[in-house]
Amino acid sequence: MDLRVAFAGLTLKNPLLTASGTFGYGREAAEIYDLGILGGVMVKGVSREPWPGNPPARVARAPGGMLNAIGLQNPGLKHFVEVDLPFLRRYQTAVVVNVVGHDQQGFVDVVQGVTGQEGVAAIELNISCPNVADGLLFSQDPASARRLVQAARAATGLPLIVKISPNVTDPVALGQACKEAGADALSAINTLLGMAIDTARRRPVLGNRTGGLSGPAVKPIGLRIVYDLAAQVGLPVIGMGGIETGLDALEYIMAGARAVAVGTAVFRDPYAPPRIVRELGEELQSHGFENATQAWAAANPAAREAAS
């Protein structure tokens, strides 16, 4: 089974990436399998300066998934470039740098800082983190998203992916603005704003009160948003949200995703990424496809819409 996919200036050995923030910078998983098995690694959000993140408790169970309020704890650009990136460079996998900032300049500085570094395959702008005060700033208003993407576009020649929030009325309008500003691809979805209540202590479980919902529970929402983005914006989409099996991955591909990412499932099963790569090959075969792109084309909403 030929699993290679190519889009937006990226060529991946298979369509499976690990989602940002659920895989650190690859070090822990590298203890149990060769990261070269993966289509790519989307690293934990990198900010210009080190960020401490939110006070605990940072995670809570949720039906069919979990809530997190990590708040983007990360060691910052310098540490990433000097320590984490060289580590990842040892593996035959595409490294996508997830970028965060408190303001436009914060984003742009990181984009600039990683551009030109060896071994960076693409940049993903995280304008959709619900767990920091200004995390959704750029998602709630397409105009400010447009300005941010334009600035990032001017700062890099690398493939530029923008991560779309599900916590907005109109993800398509947001995607459209990103496209017009020069984004090469979209990724979706980030987590959904949620809450858990500890009845014994009569207050929210999480230190930050609210957190982001992820895992199988959000899969239907991710599929809907990927479907709409793929059909209506017309940029390649990296789909994610609740992927646990090869069949889930195929569902996203048929919804219109060119590639997919696995997040929360790696907490339940650290071996999930190599397993999903294998299962996706099996599912493609049993569904009668010769490669991953065929499956995407067979059902992709744009092609289907055009044909109907």
Binding site: G21, T22, F23, G24, R27, E28, A29, E31, I32, K44, E49, P50, W51, P52, G53, P55, P56, A57, R58, V59, A60, R61, A62, P63, G64, G65, M66, N68, I70, Q73, N74, P75, G76, H79, V205, G215, P216, A217, T264, V266, F267, R268, D269, P270, Y271
Partner: protein
């Protein structure tokens, strides 16, 4: 760290609300005292994430047990396992207790559900020639777990309960009064750990604390399980404010942690 499919060989209820499950475990599941496993069983929506448990007893090289209190959906499901059932275990995980270089007299403090990691610690300390004073506390005598098992290893065991129904009435740390010990090892509820930290800092007595935190992954990738450090790691600036309980811990030196 590795994933293991473990077969349950026995399940029992050592005290009301507690369960111990014993498993057949390949020798390779060698774990140090204070290390833990992420366990899961079943597929209830509320048990999507695995749950963290110290390993408790290893009565034969190919056996391993876990002892836990039933608190919510995760422990309810694990507590319902019976001989012949299987569970998935990831581990061993984290950073366990540090053994002294020469024999010492060590006090081990285990409050309630904090007892499990002390069994292995007591065994290894005793094997290394140390003397072990195990102080074990619970709400009441009926809720005491692990005391007999740790005594059976050859440790000296003293008890404290909130209601005085077994051992001394009052705080577990009160049992330290008048004792001459060289090192403290503690696991239990946060107020007890704070108290051990005070005693350690006050008396300049080395102490190690085994911490708990809500966890998602257990192996360092989610950044969910952090505890605040007293001294941030300087080279990482602000980032170093929090350490991962699952990776830098769960055992920390008392002076490292800001509660």
């Amino acid at each position: 760290m590795r994933g293991w499919d473990l077969e349950v060989t026995a399940a029992n209820r050592p005290a009301p609300g507690y369960a111990e499950i014993s498993c057949k475990a390949p020798q390779a599941v060698a774990a140090l005292p204070g290390q833990f496993f992420m366990l899961r069983a079943g597929e209830h929506p509320d048990t999507y994430l695995p749950r963290a448990f110290s390993w408790y007893r290893q009565e034969a090289p190919d056996r391993l047990s876990f002892l836990f209190r039933v608190q919510g959906p995760g422990t309810r499901h694990l507590g319902g396992l019976r001989a012949g059932d299987h569970l998935y275990a990831l581990g061993p995980l984290g950073h366990g207790f540090t053994l002294p270089e020469r024999p010492v007299r060590a006090a081990l403090l285990g409050g309630g559900v904090g007892v499990p990691p002390l069994w292995g610690l007591a065994r290894n300390l005793l094997a290394g020639g140390s003397e072990v004073l195990a102080l074990i506390g619970a709400r009441s005598g009926a809720h005491l777990v692990g005391a007999e098992e740790i005594a059976a290893l050859g440790a000296e065991v003293r008890l404290a309960t909130d209601d005085g129904s077994a051992g001394r009435k009052g705080l577990l740390t009160d049992l330290l009064e008048g004792e001459q010990v060289d090192a403290l090892y503690a696991c239990g509820p946060e107020p007890m750990l704070r108290r051990v930290q005070e005693i350690s800092l006050g008396a300049g007595l080395p102490a190690e604390l085994a911490l708990e935190a809500p966890m998602a992954c257990g192996y360092g990738v989610c950044m969910g399980c952090v505890v605040e450090r007293t001294r941030p790691q300087d080279e990482l600036g602000d980032y170093g404010r929090y350490a991962r309980v699952c990776r830098e811990g769960p055992v920390f030196r008392a002076e490292e942690v800001r509660f």
